[in-house]
Symmetry: C2
Subunit: 172 residues, 2 copies
């Protein structure tokens, strides 16, 4: 078996494959909540982050969902306009503001979660339970490894996601 890799076979090229798989999945899911709830993908992710991890600052949200602070700021602005998110300025440090879902936001969140989980469930149906675990484990490792590869010579190094631990507050 000579030269194992000389030609770039796009259809077998991992970055490309991941990209289109992620894209079709993300769009499919968006199709389910966009119209009934009027949320963009980023807005939904902010809501999901707040729904899961109680009060968070905008920066915390950004670290959670791998989104820069500008994107978070805009998504939050839109959500606050619609009364889905509440902001409370931190009295000790008035630069910060902790965010949480409002009652309306929680209600909407509660309606979307089953839709999202239902889609995931349908998608996963094509895999056996074991395959599913295997796939999760493999993506975890790929993700961690991709992060370390990126360190070597990258400007932005914001990583540490796929992680259920909070990102370690800078101050105690």
């Amino acid at each position: 078996m000579p030269s194992p890799s000389q030609a770039l076979e796009l259809e077998n090229f991992l970055p490309y494959r991941l990209s289109i798989l992620a894209q079709i999945v993300s769009e499919s899911l968006h199709d389910l909540y966009a119209e009934p709830f009027g949320l963009t993908v980023t807005q939904w992710r902010v809501m999901a982050a707040l729904g899961r991890f109680a009060p968070l600052t905008a920066s915390d949200v950004g670290q959670r969902i791998v989104m820069d602070k500008v994107a978070v700021s805009r998504a939050v602005a839109g959500l606050m306009e619609r009364g889905l998110v509440e902001r409370a300025t931190d009295r000790a440090d008035r630069r910060r503001a902790s965010l949480r879902l409002s009652a309306r936001g929680r209600a909407m969140h509660a309606r979307i979660v089953p839709i999202a989980l239902g889609y995931e469930e349908r998608l996963y149906k094509v895999l056996s339970a074991e395959e599913r675990r295997s796939f999760d484990a493999l993506t975890d490792r790929l993700f961690a490894h991709a992060g370390t590869l990126r360190q070597a010579g990258a400007r932005t190094s914001r990583s540490a996601l796929l992680d259920s631990e909070p990102p370690a507050r800078s101050r105690s």
Copy 2:
């Protein structure tokens, strides 16, 4: 084991995981070719498609790399300006134009391919050969299944990718 899924754990939610994994991989790769070659992600994908599948029309390219014709048109315009791609109008059907890499384009392509494959190789190093095959097979199935799920109630149904067969020319 009661209610197997009630809360949405973002960090374990497949669409989210796929999305950020694809994002970090795509960005890491882009870091490698963006600066030296001055290509956007879409331009590089067009070049990759042309590099692999000889002469293609703009529509063919779009089907190959899952990109709408406007995006292809713009990427091609940029590539032609730089003399990386050549266009030849089809004499039989003057709406069509077949695209191919120019000599310069082929030279650049030849320099980028090893970089791309090298990145893929480094990324895959975290998996054993068997895990790698397994991961590929699982993504294939997820992809195919995601496509069928999307059919049911989707406006755009452009699928059929991850496939090395050409997308069946409309005319013989």
